[in-house]
């Protein structure tokens, strides 16, 4: 049995029929679990030898009304296989417990997801602004954020007016005679 | 009359120093396989710097730092003979005065850099004063056998007592001359010993908050410093020279330093001080022993 199939068997024996596990291609194993089982599975896989949490991403399914979180785990001891753990959250209603106690490197990823999507992670010590300083709008990576309208209101420039062209074409100012 | 000679001497040394700096940039560029700036580039830099106006001030002591450094190195010119001609002041013990006045430069910069609120300046000046623990000792011990041999402590007397070509002190005490050459490299502040300036690591060290006219004064300080330091080396080890041969000698020694500068990276400060207490110390100690056992 190849290494991927061994991992699939182990995960299936834990989950039973609460979630699905499948192999997408060589060295990629996906698992879809309910929200309250994510942290136990992360702890289990860390004991098995998945030492690195490469990233946490978020996908906004606006038509179904859900946020999907994907945890990407990597291991050198299992022939460089990536395991992806997916969960789904209700949009704007549910919060997620933080994964810092298991993988301390989740600190920055959860901060970024909170800033870009608005998901609150319970137990995270510092959820303030990370990349966007002085941000005054809604979380920008959501699909219902209208970029063009925001740009026009804030920067005020969509098409060049006569005044702006004149200012750019004349790089120096006329010296007034005193 | 003496005032006019002194003023002319000062201007001549400044112009030659700036010319050497420009030629150094050209030589470095040719080593890097490219054309460099024109040889008069240092004059243009200094003129540009004196035409700028600063935007902020850090207090009186900060502004006085470059002035103290420039004054120290200008005062050294009173004691420095150019080849055969006598300097304005010469007396027994002026070697020590010159060696002390060479320290006034970094000391003035230390006072000024302490007033600016920038930690880079403090790190830079701490490195400059630590580096002095390395090269000052080697420099003094390298000149020691020459002065004891001729029984005098005045630079002008040492020049007069050495004779023409085969009687140069550099040929009688070659190990001391080599040690002095290595110490000179650190005194000039060329790589691998340019820890105080270090533009990429500590944002130019003590010069970080100086712009405009202060930086112009610091460039002039560096220019006069080149001639004074290489001049000291040529005077002590190579006897009386015609003034033209004197400047040719300083040029050759400076170009040796510039060629090593273009090829080497920078040491860390502890590596530099440890280097000075290794091979150069052995060379100068052997030079001192040579005085006692094999004159």
């Amino acid at each position: 049995m190849s290494m991927e199939e061994k991992i699939v068997e182990e995960l299936k024996s834990i989950l039973g029929d609460l979630g699905e596990v499948w192999i997408q291609r060589e060295k990629r194993v996906y698992a879809k679990v309910p929200k309250n089982l994510v942290l136990p599975i992360l702890a289990y896989l860390k004991d098995k030898g998945f030492h690195q949490l490469t990233t946490i991403t978020c996908v906004d399914w606006i038509k179904r009304g859900k946020f999907e979180l994907i945890y990407n785990l990597f291991s050198l001891y299992h022939e460089n296989i990536h395991v992806f753990i997916k969960t789904e959250l209700e949009r704007d209603k549910e919060t997620m417990p933080t994964a810092i106690d298991i993988y301390p490197m989740a600190f920055d990823y959860e901060r970024e997801i909170h800033e870009m999507f608005g998901i609150v992670f319970e137990g995270h010590p510092r959820l303030d602004s990370f990349i966007l300083e002085d941000w005054d709008g809604p979380p920008p990576m959501r699909k219902d954020f209208d970029t063009a309208k925001y740009v026009e209101e804030k920067y005020g420039v969509k098409d060049y007016t006569e005044e702006i062209w004149k200012r750019m074409e004349q790089p120096y100012r006329e010296e007034k005679d005193e | 009359m003496k005032i006019l000679i002194l003023a002319g001497y000062w201007i001549l040394v400044t112009i030659l120093g700036l010319l050497y700096m420009g030629i150094a940039r050209k030589v470095t560029a040719r080593i890097h396989n490219r054309y460099g700036p024109p040889f008069y580039q240092a004059f243009l830099d200094v003129l540009k710097l004196f035409s700028k106006r600063e935007t902020a001030s850090h207090g009186v002591m900060h502004s006085l730092g470059p002035v103290i450094a420039f004054a120290g190195i200008s005062a050294t010119l009173l004691f420095m003979p150019l080849g055969k001609g006598a300097p304005v002041l010469h007396f027994q013990g002026d070697l020590f005065v010159v060696l002390y006045l060479l320290v006034v430069g970094p000391l003035g910069m230390a006072l000024g850099a302490g007033e600016s609120n920038n930690p880079n300046a403090t790190i830079g000046i701490a490195r400059a004063l630590s580096l002095m623990l390395g090269y000052e000792i080697i420099l003094f011990m390298a000149t020691l056998p020459v002065f004891v041999h001729y029984g005098t402590a005045s630079i002008y007397d040492v020049i007069v007592k050495q004779g023409a070509f085969p009687n140069w002190a550099g040929l009688k005490y070659p190990l001391s001359m080599l040690g002095g050459l290595i110490a000179l490299h650190g005194l000039l502040g060329e790589k691998p010993f340019d820890q105080p300036i270090a533009p990429h690591e500590i944002a130019s060290g003590p010069m970080v908050e100086y712009g405009g006219k202060y930086l112009g004064l610091l460039q002039l300080w560096h220019a006069i410093g080149i001639i004074v330091e290489t001049g000291l080396f040529i005077n002590v080890f190579f006897g009386p020279q015609n003034i033209v041969w004197f400047f040719a000698g300083t040029f050759i020694v400076f170009m040796l330093a510039v060629i090593v500068n273009a090829l080497m990276p920078r040491f860390r400060i502890e590596q530099a001080v440890r280097f000075y207490w290794g091979v150069p110390l052995i060379l100068v100690v052997l030079g001192i022993l040579q005085y006692y056992f094999w004159r």
Binding site: I131, L132, E133, D134, G137, P140, F145, T147, A148, Y150, V151, K154, Y155, G156, V157, Y160, I164, R167, M168, P171, Y172, R173, E175 | R25, A29, H32, N33, R34, Y35, G36, P37, P38, Q41, F43, L44, D45, L47, K48, S51, K52, R53, E54, T55, A56, P199, H200, A203, S204, M207, V208, E209, Y210, G211, G212, L215
Partner: protein
Amino acid sequence: MGLFKISQGRSLWMVHFCTGCGAVEMPPTMTSRFDMERFGIAPMATPRQADVLLITGYLTVKTLKRVIMVYEQMPTPRYVIGFGSCTVNGGIYWDSYNVIKNLDLYIPVDLYIFGCMPRPESIIDAFIKLRKMIEEGKANKWKDYIERYDWYKQNQAKLFDINKWRVQK
């Protein structure tokens, strides 16, 4: 005086502050192939020692604060060159929520270089044009910043809180 203007044009020192993705064109311009030191241009470590600020690429609001801090520390006369099409109208980030669209509203710009990225030959051409402008006395947009300071600050206040980053402890 004429001599001062000539020397200002022939020894331009630039701040080594490379914002955005245009910074990748600075090393080829500085090194042996397209040597820019033969025109007297050298990179300097701090803004207090430099004359020219090159804005090489897009600027987010976060970087704009720092660029304004750097610009205000340079001694006068000081020049700004806008590099690439992101400084002209936002470039490929024309509808991004975090990138500024028109640099001229926040700091005064003397020259724009078009391209994404401009080649090293165009960068050197821009420096030669700047040298000609300095010798004719036309590179004087820095006086504009001093005289119309309130207008520039008003534009900057639309993006961020201008009092917040000046407060020291």
